[in-house]
């Protein structure tokens, strides 16, 4: 997943001077703000003065901050405005927050994913706040006829040494006419007063009162409801269908088949094509459409091998998608076969062959994991209204910027005739970076010449692909007679993607190291799933290291610390992608906060794991017990280094959520296939972690430092799997190599 890492500050400041108002998708305000102020804010539409693209201020000093990135639960509707407000120097109570429109020129990538929102906007948004503050100071200086350097600000008030004061609102109209300054000074972290102080979710009140926020809640007058019927199996396609009965059902407007992409369509990286031809059912209401769909008599046939044309950064490539109908047990057999073949070498340090040849002891273990469905609580859905000369699409989407070029091609409309609105998302986890459902909505609207809302049922959603891939990896460790780790080898592969991160720990800590990977193409579509690849690697590698530590006769945390010390002081190789010091810091904090090795914890069944991904470091100690004959994670201690923590309480919430998610996925998560048909299609057969299975306690601790924020949405997730596996060993005396762990348990 490549996205523009940093927005050049100069180009940002230039572009921020562009005018732009736009459609308001959602007003939000803070539950602690005074009600009168909130309501007033809503009535001041004409009175906003826009400063530095992200900020609007009324004469009454209400400050509106526009959020560039779509919200999916990572709290950007709160944390991003906090960053602006910090540098703008306003009272948080005077701030209202609004989702920005889609405008990549004005706001940059607007991409939610890769744990990147805070990281990507940390400088641009603070720059915007500081620039606006500078403009307000300048406006006051001109008004008062004094030097700007003599003016100070505090909580939205400008003051001059002579005793003159003015609220920002009084100077906003004038400030908006000034040039955006090219150079601004940002606060030092020690001076932060909003950032690092927990603020409540700005959309909290709307959530708890059931206000329309989500894509599913989007509606306009005359809107029709649409559903799709996709082929029942991966590798199948539509042969023919009879919709006579369906069309006669009450409330039904039309039933037709449509093609997503025309032949030869050049797909961009995130243009998935799970199925290219589907049946659309369109009618007045959801229930009527659901019922009519059951009356469609469709015939499906094997699709055979398919050719896809991908347009990537490397130019045009053609890819053959195999037509076979896949079955999980056979997939595992196929993976085992591939694992024995020569693979692509990803990294080699020293002489691993010799190390293994000379080893006194070799430990070799293989780890497997199934496909996972994202199962966002809000199923995929999108609104579209495509007209002859323009289009509006609206809904839950992580990557609006990636949709735009595809919509231009699909609809044959210029960019400025396509409006994309982002709603709050009922979860994303990577799934909503793939906009196929939005394209389907656009196609259906185009055909119907009407505004439509495409809705997936849970069954549609779960059987549609874009899964976390299936993975396997074999790890080998070579120990010498003194039980020193002298060689390390990982070979990993998957359907259809290789999981191995060759330059991650313990690369850099072992003299003789080899990483290899392979892939098996498949018609089962896959996509990013919270910490792609890492969510498997951390499970496998961190369980393996636990076994290696045991063989070495070392404490598992100490063993990791010793290796990291080596990587820090005398690293092997050049491309190690982690910072050993931060890794060590997280492990030490975890050790301290969990009371690791302390006599009072001697009786506990504990597992530990730590991992680096998305520029951050996270580790967990999991305490497990047997409850009613089943392993149960009772409490968890977590340590995270993600740099400056913008909104600490919300960050804790996110880490707790990642821990619960990790326990649930590792215990129960699996999407399996029989002859191409997904064997799970709703929550009765796809098990999700529930209230009674969540730990009683999750203590979250952050490393305190002034490093610019790194990622948080993903990094705490992968190490949960490893810590759970290691705690399972302590609890049951058995090592767990295959996910989901509870299905492995039930087999043995």
């Amino acid at each position: 997943m490549k996205i523009q890492k940093n927005i050049d500050r100069r180009s940002f400041l230039k572009s921020s001077a562009l005018a732009g108002g736009g459609m308001m998708l959602s007003f939000s305000w803070f539950s602690e703000a005074k009600a009168a102020e909130k309501v007033e804010a809503l009535n001041l539409a004409d009175q906003w003065s826009e400063l530095a693209a992200y900020i609007k201020i009324t004469p009454d000093n209400v400050v509106k901050i526009l959020v560039p990135n779509p919200e999916f639960g990572q709290n950007v509707m709160t944390s991003l405005p906090m960053m602006v407000a910090e540098e703008l120097d306003v009272d948080w109570k005077d701030v209202v927050v609004e989702m920005g429109t889609h405008d990549n020129v004005k706001y940059g990538p607007q991409f939610t994913g890769g744990s990147n929102s805070v990281r990507m906007y940390w400088k641009p948004l603070r720059n915007a706040g500081a620039a606006a503050r500078q403009m307000l100071i300048e406006a006051a200086a001109q008004t008062w006829g004094v030097s700007a350097t003599e003016i100070t600000t505090k909580a939205g008030v400008l003051s001059h040494s002579s005793g003159k004061t003015a609220k920002y609102g009084e100077m906003a109209a004038k400030a908006a006419t000034l040039t955006v300054p090219k150079e601004v000074r940002l606060k030092a972290p020690k001076d932060f007063s909003i950032v690092r102080n927990s603020k409540k979710n700005t959309e909290g009140l709307k959530v708890v009162t059931g206000k329309p926020l989500f894509g599913m809640d989007y509606r306009v007058d005359g809107m029709l409801i649409a559903m799709i019927q996709h082929p029942p199996a991966f590798g199948m396609k539509l042969k023919s269908f009879d919709a006579t009965a369906a069309k006669k059902m009450p409330g039904i407007k039309d039933v037709f088949s449509f093609k997503l992409y025309d032949d030869g369509f050049e797909q961009a990286g995130f243009d998935t094509r799970t199925f290219n031809e589907m049946i659309a059912i369109v009618g007045n209401s959801t229930w009527e459409v659901m019922n009519a769909r059951k009356k469609i008599n469709a015939q499906w046939e094997a699709a055979g091998d398919l050719k896809e044309t991908m347009m990537g950064r490397g130019g045009k490539t053609e890819k053959i998608v195999p037509g076979r109908l896949e079955t999980t047990s056979l997939q595992f057999e196929l993976m085992a076969e591939y694992a024995k073949k020569p693979a692509q070498q990803l990294r080699k340090d020293g002489d691993p062959e010799a190390a293994f040849k000379n080893a006194a002891q070799i430990i070799e273990r293989t780890y497997n994991a199934p496909f996972l469905a994202h199962n966002t609580m809000e199923p995929m859905n999108f609104f579209a209204h495509v007209e002859a000369d323009k289009a509006l699409v609206a809904g839950p989407i992580q990557a609006p910027g990636w949709m735009e070029p595809t919509l231009i091609k699909l609809l044959n409309l210029p960019a400025d005739k396509i409006e994309i609105q982002m709603t709050r998302m009922g979860g994303g986890f990577g799934r909503r970076a793939y906009a196929q459902y939005a394209y389907e909505a656009a196609r259906i609207s185009q055909k119907m010449k009407a505004p439509i809302h495409l809705i997936y049922t849970r069954e549609d959603d779960m059987t549609y692909g874009i899964y976390r891939p299936m993975y396997t990896a074999t790890y080998r460790a070579a120990l010498d007679v003194n039980k020193n780790l002298i060689g390390f080898h990982v070979i990993g592969g998957g359907i259809p993607e290789n999981p191995v991160h060759a330059n991650r720990f313990p690369a850099g800590a072992v003299d003789n190291y080899l990483a290899e990977g392979w892939e098996i193409p498949s018609n089962i579509t896959i996509g990013a799933f919270r910490a792609p690849r890492s969510n498997f690697n951390a499970a496998a590698e961190q369980s393996f290291l636990d076994e290696v530590a045991e063989a070495m006769g070392k404490d598992p945390i100490q063993m990791r610390l010793d290796l990291l010390k080596r990587a820090k002081e005398n690293p092997v190789g050049k491309n190690n992608d982690y910072d050993a010091s931060r890794y060590i810091g997280v492990l030490e904090l975890l050790k301290e906060k969990s009371g690791w090795g302390k006599p009072e914890n001697a009786g506990k069944k504990r597992g530990v794991a730590a991992y680096f991904c998305h520029a951050s470091y996270a580790g967990h100690v999991v305490d497990m017990v047997m409850r009613d004959g089943q392993p149960y994670v009772e409490s968890v201690t977590s340590a995270v280094d993600c740099g400056v923590v913008v909104n600490p309480d919300a960050a804790r919430n996110m880490v707790q959520g990642a821990v619960v998610d990790g326990i649930g996925q590792s215990f129960y998560g699996a999407l399996t296939h029989k002859d191409g048909v997904p064997e799970q299609n709703n929550f009765h057969n796809y098990r999700m972690i529930r209230h009674n299975e969540a730990p009683k306690k999750i203590d979250v601790h952050f490393v305190e430092n002034d490093i610019d924020p790194t990622g948080l949405g993903e990094p705490p997730f992968p190490p949960v799997f490893g810590a759970v596996a290691n705690a399972l060993f302590k609890t049951t005396g058995k090592r767990y190599y295959n996910q989901p762990f509870m299905s492995e348990q039930s087999k043995s």
């Binding site: 639960g73 009162t209 059931g210 329309p212 809640d217 959801t286 199962n375 979860g427 996110m654 959520g657």
Partner: protein, 151 residues
């Protein structure tokens, strides 16, 4: 199609729908009340929870024809503007992540506290297990329920 007169959030509402239509879709599609959410459609996730005469029910699996004279309360009717103790506790504990499951969680929690004003952890677990939160906010939900119980 058939005409139904429904008591929803203290008001009587008329709808003309197929008798099999679940209350979930009556609320969302016919009465423009989107606070009640669709998650699974088969009573497995709790996103669509409403109160029927004060008891928590899954509206996705409750046909309009089965409601009769019973009173329905939805998240929109739980309080005038988020002032129900459960809603207040949710805000205090900043429970929501994506928020999609939360109207269902709140409707379950408020029904629980009505029938059991002082639930133990185990009772909360047992009652709330029908409500999935994909974002994993279970710990905060439990804290919020316990805080609301004290009010």
């Amino acid at each position: 199609m058939a005409k139904y007169s429904l008591k929803i959030n203290g008001k009587t509402q008329q709808v003309d729908v197929d008798p099999s239509t679940p209350i979930l879709w009556v609320l969302r599609d016919h009465l423009n009340m989107p606070g009640t959410k669709f998650g699974c459609g088969m009573a497995m996730c709790g996103a669509c929870t409403v109160h029927l005469d004060g008891n928590a029910v899954r509206s996705c699996s409750l046909p309009v024809s089965a409601v009769g004279k019973s009173a329905i309360t939805t998240i929109e009717g739980l309080s005038a503007n988020g002032t129900h103790p459960v809603q207040k506790a949710w805000l205090e504990h900043d429970v929501a992540q994506c928020g999609y499951c939360q109207s269902g969680q709140i409707m379950s929690a408020s029904a629980l506290l009505k029938s059991n004003p002082n639930p133990t952890d185990e009772e909360i677990d047992a009652y709330m297990s029908g409500n999935i939160c994909r974002c994993g906010t279970y710990l905060r939900i439990k804290e919020a329920i316990k805080a609301a119980a004290k009010k």
